[in-house]
Subunit: 138 residues, 3 copies
Amino acid sequence: MRTRSEELQIRTKGKGTYEITDEIQQVIADHKVQNGIVAVFVQHTSCSLLIMENAAPAARRDLERFFDKLVPENSEYEHDDEGPDDMPAHIRMALTRTSETIPIDSGKLQLGTWQGIFLFEHRHSPHKRRVGLTLIGE
Amino acid sequence: MRTRSEELQIRTKGKGTYEITDEIQQVIADHKVQNGIVAVFVQHTSCSLLIMENAAPAARRDLERFFDKLVPENSEYEHDDEGPDDMPAHIRMALTRTSETIPIDSGKLQLGTWQGIFLFEHRHSPHKRRVGLTLIGE
Amino acid sequence: MRTRSEELQIRTKGKGTYEITDEIQQVIADHKVQNGIVAVFVQHTSCSLLIMENAAPAARRDLERFFDKLVPENSEYEHDDEGPDDMPAHIRMALTRTSETIPIDSGKLQLGTWQGIFLFEHRHSPHKRRVGLTLIGE
């Protein structure tokens, strides 16, 4: 059993969900890991991870609208150094996930039929995001 | 050190929390893992994982009521292919967890005194749910 | 590759966020783990984990105020055995995290520039909290 690590770089173009399932599956294939786990870790506090319905884009739009309403950008926050989307981004991150640990079986991510892995960008401006992948297995 | 995997199948009978601590502990015992981790992964987007107070059922009822109120089923969602509990299920899943990584020490789950592991079902109708367990350790 | 475990004990003095990044980094150094993961697990249901902006204390104050408002302590809960902060503590825990899996590279936690690891205490009175660390790597 060995551990291997890679870093994905994801360019985001504003708020929304960006699927990264294929990129993660490709890293697993490159390293020929058959059985084990991949630990996915997003190295930021203003975007997050989401494992979500991957077939219906409307489901992701509803989810994004829910978070927009729950954590409004027009509220008054003490911390607004980078503008009105700064603090809501941190809160939406805290309400979702920074790390996910996903099983690998026979070289494949063991996701359910409708599951996709997404980077959930909470900032309006474009960003380059880093996602660490650690593969542990054989 | 080795990696081993199993799948739990959990039958749910509508919304609520279903404890799966004993089932996970049994898999650890079956595989004779003494020290390491178990990565728990729920393969669905309309139910989730929860590590919660396991002694007082009232605490889980309060928690379920909180999520019912925070993510109402009578709201207007764009995505409602499977009825009014479809989209709220995805949102409640996103607000809780899809994966948890739990330590194993001397063959036992290292949970706190009051912690139990639960499948949190967000759909009204009965479902058969799959939970992947990956054991890494020795 | 080996697995090693340690337990941190954190004394909290009421609600708030307590940084534990340095303590975790020290355990990694003590065990001389170069590459792999650390699985962090909080053994309680009334405090949680948070990976959050570590530079601006105002950002953490905003986040704490958000959770105070979202899960009010003056609401009526069925479960209030330990007072008005009992049930809100469990709900705030469920909305954040119990476990996080963080990559280690060249002996260092692979956190982003602004990320810190925090224990998020939800109870008013002082508590001694236990955080399990499992290191898997080489």
